[in-house]
């Protein structure tokens, strides 16, 4: 069964450093998402991406964050100048988007980011 893959599974970084989290969505999917989950809290929407541009973003997704799909397969989340409160699990998800409205979010296993 096709799956969304994320790397790294765990990254430890120093406060102020830049981090890039990578995702390979399922190949024929059209809509891509990043979510984060702080330990013990709910899953929070960060950004959705379609047709090589951001379609929606939350108030969490400020200038510190950016996303891109550099080569048609990878979907990356960049966090500039990380802060302690960026420590969380980051999930990538995708939706096929074919046939109109319905579809399920396919999630990756997540990348755990620890900022020291």
């Amino acid at each position: 069964e096709p799956e969304v893959t994320q790397t790294p599974s765990h990254q430890v970084t120093q406060m102020g450093q830049e981090v890039i989290l990578r995702c390979v969505p399922i190949s024929n999917h059209l809509y891509f998402y990043w979510y984060r989950q702080i330990l013990g809290q709910k899953v929070e929407f960060l950004v959705s991406f379609y047709n090589n541009e951001i379609s929606e973003k939350s108030e969490i997704f400020d200038d510190q964050f950016s996303v891109e799909r550099p080569d048609g397969s990878n979907f990356t989340l960049k966090i500039r100048s990380t802060k302690l409160e960026d420590s969380a699990m980051y999930f990538c998800a995708s939706i096929p988007g074919t046939g109109g409205v319905t579809g399920e979010l396919f999630f990756g296993e997540g990348s755990r980011l620890t900022v020291l």
């Binding site: 998402y33 899953v43 047709n51 074919t98 319905t102 979010l105």
Partner: protein, 112 residues
């Protein structure tokens, strides 16, 4: 965006049916209702999706009344492995410009 409200937690016992109700009073015409299951340190996993009335698959049923202001996920005969957090998500899926936002989730504990 339709805000969702779910109970924070529920306890059950093996073999029982678990029903989790989600309120979404301001659901929009084009919104679908989707439920996800999440185990610790894993990504959420799709359980079921519906628009109105009743939907059933191999793992759950979803009941949606005519006004669509709430929905109930029904898990028949739960086992210990069904202990997880269950999220109700309401939104227009599969279109550009969508913001699929999870609510607080319901933590279900299945006891032996």
């Amino acid at each position: 965006l339709a805000k969702t409200t779910q109970p924070i937690s529920m306890d059950s016992y093996e073999g029982q049916e678990v029903n989790i109700t989600c309120s979404h009073n301001n659901i929009a015409t084009n919104d679908y209702i989707t439920w996800y299951q999440q185990f610790p340190s894993q990504g959420p996993r799709f359980i079921i999706q519906g628009y109105k009335t009743k939907v059933t698959n191999e793992v759950a049923s979803l009941f949606i009344p005519a006004d669509r202001k709430s929905s109930t996920l029904s898990l028949p005969r739960v086992s210990l492995s069904d202990t997880a957090v269950y999220y109700c998500l309401v939104g227009e899926v599969g279109t550009a410009g969508n913001k699929l936002t999870f609510g607080g989730g319901t933590r279900v504990l299945v006891k032996p």
